[in-house]
Structure formats: structure tokens, C-alpha cells
Amino acid sequence: MKAFAYVNPSNESDALAALRSGGIVRPLGGGQDLLARLKDYLDEPDRLVSVKGALNREAAATGDGGLRIGAAMRLFEVAEHPEILKRYPALAEAASTVGSPQIRHQGTVGGNLNQRPRCWYFRQEEFVCFKKGGNRCFAADGENQYHSIFGNDGPSKIVHPSSLAVPLVAYGARFRLASASGEREVAAADYFTLPSMQTVQKENVLADDELLTHVILPAPGNVRSGHYEVRFKESRDWPMAFATVVLAMNGPSIDSARVVLGAVAPVPWRAEDAERVLRGRLLDDAAADVAGEAAVRGAKPLAQNAYKIRITRTAVKRAVLAAAGRSV
């Protein structure tokens, strides 16, 4: 990797100032994605700003019954946090399956949300794709078995790599973004961006001099949630497709639903058809079936990933069953 200078600020404003200190500057969280990218020359910053000591690492109750999670919280802490386990169990479950114990010990909430895609063409220095300023997506007509089946009309066929992003969109979280000139809040659903030729080199709206500092979860209300990941093997790997469902309940019936899919699109993918068919239904086996069917309506597989339609349907079905308290 290219040599870089290192800054270790102890508070947010120093960290934000350091991001504007000239040249290419990148924030360093747990480093589990960033260091690999530097070693492979996918990114060649002049300076790293270590943000673990500068950003908040707690989960604190908000005034309106929600929860505010600092971006420096480690993934294992999210997975074990009593309030998250109790009120946002799909988020705890997603955190508990990221990578391996070593990755969960080091990896942060901010880093998980802002990691770059796992596409094997993107990860190889030799393939100069759209995301690296090139003029093609090698996955479009290449080895695309792990690529997108939704939202793939644009220039890049990646799937978004973050496991936390999916339950966070499903729970209606917001992200606090800060820069040296101010701060803003963005809904998780609006943070991640589908690739266009103008935006293809990034996966979200975060500016280079901004930090994602907090994840803000609304009060869950009377909801049931479920999360299910389909994996190729039992041990550590990225899931091939997964789903979080969050169901607002009215007695035994579903008032409204959020169904969000992971590893199938360049962003966490809202399955709006599935949300529609769940509305007003009893939460039972039949609901799981129709939600699974509706969730994959409109999927456009690439040459090698039609199998993802079937496992996505299964992921949604089992996530609904999990929300119903059934073991799946």
C-alpha cells in the first residue's frame, strides 16, 4: 500500500477538521475493509484519520423512545446490546452474523455502512470498472452469480455489502452526517444511492469531508420483526440473499409492513409489493407465502444469478415466519 500520514483526533470536531486537511483523506474505523482496499491499491489516500476515538461508541435512549447509536460502536457490541436485542432484534441478529468474531470485534457501525462493494471485479486492481473511473461493468456480461437481481438497470451490477443497512432501512432509521461546516440528517433509505453515470463511483450520499456519526432509530412501537439470511455454508461468509421484515401490528393483524432485501441490489431494496400484500393480513403461514412471492415480482436476473430469485423468496418467507415467532 502507498505510505500515508495518520491523525488520531480525540473528538468529532478535530476529526472533521482533519478530513479537510488536504490531499486524499479517508476516515479509519475498524479498518476491516479499508486496509484491504489500501493493500490492493483500490484506494491510495495521503492521510488516514482514525475516528474510533473521536466518534461515539454508545447506544443511548432518545427523548421520544428511540435509540441513538454512535458510529464507533463495534459490531459485537451491537449484537450483544440488551436494548438492541430487545427492541431491534433484527439489527442485533444482522450484526451477529457479519464476518467472523475478529471482524465483529474490530468492525464498527459506521464502517459496516460505508464499506465498499465486494464485487470481485471491483476488488481486483486490474479491472478498471465504472466504479474506478473506467468505462464498463465487467459483471454485466461476466461472472455475475453474486450480483444484483433488482435495481440493475444502471451502470453497475453490484449488490450493497452492508448487513446492518437492511434492518436499519426496515426500522426506519436516520443517519446523522457531520462536516466541518454543519450537520444533516438523512433517512437510511435515502442514504444509499442507485448507480447512475454521475454517482457510480460511490454507494451513498456521504461527502468526502463528512462523517456518518450516529444512527438514530425511531421508537419501534407495536412491531414484530424478523430477519433471515440465506448462506452458502454455515460458517463465515457474506449472505447470498437476506431479508428483514418489520410489521406494525394491530392485534393478530398486520397494520403495515416494511420488507427490505439485502445482497440483491446496489442498495438495501424495499420490496414494496410484499409490503402491500401484507397490509391488513393475519400474521400466519399464508402471509409468509404471499409476501415471498410478491417480494421477487419484477426481479431481473443476470445470466448467472436467477437462483437468487428463489432464495430471496425463501428469505422473505422465513423472515415473516420469524416475525411471527416461529422457528425457521
Binding site: 502507498k2 500520514a5 491523525v7 480525540s10 482533519a18 476491516q32 492521510r47 470485534h105 460458517s235 463465515r236
Partner: protein, 202 residues
Amino acid sequence: MAQNDDPAGTVSRRDFIKTVGATSVAAGVLAPAAPVTAQGPAALGPGPVPVNLTINGRARTLQIEPRVTLLDAVRDHANLTGNKRVCDRGTCGACTMIVDGRTVYSCSTLAIDVQGSRIRTVDGLANGDDLHPVQEAFCAADGMMCGFCTPGFVMATVALLEKYPKPTIAQARRELDGNVCRCGTFNRVFEAALSAGGVNRG
């Protein structure tokens, strides 16, 4: 590899690495300092800077560049070569060390970023010839073939037993999930991990 550059075979691989380390320290003396940021702490590097690490209870100051990983700092600069550099991408687990009580991939951690932390490597387990119980258990269960992954598995097992003194097989599988044995000795690794339960020591 380094040894191929030495036809007489008089320079060991380790000596070669030490030489390279010394050269980069000398180069660092001449490296210009990075400009200081407008506010907050100064930037360190990109040339070598003093990095203070506590490795196996011993304080060390290494003169290294900010880009040096914990693994390379420990192996090439502190001369503790027990933990291995295999994938160097946070995938295989051979570099597993315990930092502040938890396993980490030392290849995916910057040394400069763990100053002030308690770093434990496989080199610190044995007391002279007196092996750590986990090391004894790996020998007794024949929990290795080529042995390259073993230092990482041993460290992950030490952490497992500190978390669960008498682990179940499910706990062992989950806590050792970040380590890979390409010879496929997993069953004997698990056997070693379970048999070492209850006899753990620091």
C-alpha cells in the same frame, strides 16, 4: 523469496527482514514531516514515527511508518514471529492476536492504531519450555497438519476459553469461525479446544 537472493545461503530469511527493517528506519530520519493540520492533533508520518506498543506485557517503542500493520510490526520489527502472515486480508486468521481481551486480525489492524492496548501474541503463551494448556491440548489432540494456521487457532482458542471456560461445541465453532485450516484439521482443532476447557491459564 528472500533466501533465493542469497546463493551462498548465509543470510536467513529472518535476518534479511531485519535488514530491510533497519533500512526503512534509516530512510525515515530523512523523510520530511507531514504538515500539521490546522486544528487538533498533528499528522504523523508518512515516514517512520515512534509507535509505543505493549506486547505480551512488555512495552516496546518501534520506529515504523503509520502504514505498518500490527502483524508486520510484531513479526518484522519486534521479532516475534509466532503469528503468521498468510492471506494478509483478514480472511484466514493465522495472524490472530488478542488485543484488550478480544481476538483481532493483526494483518488488518494498524500498529499505530493500537497504542495503549494490551497486545497478546502466540509468542507470549509458553513459559520457556512449559507450554500453555491450549498448546498442550493442540499437541495431545494432534490438532495440526502443516501447522501454519495453528498460531491463530491457538490464540482464538485461548480467547474462546476466556469467554467460555467450558465451551460447548457450538460455542467453539462460533468463536473459531474466523480461522481457516486448509489441511482440514477442524475436528481435531475442536477436540483440542474442548479438551483444554477448564484448565485455562493466562
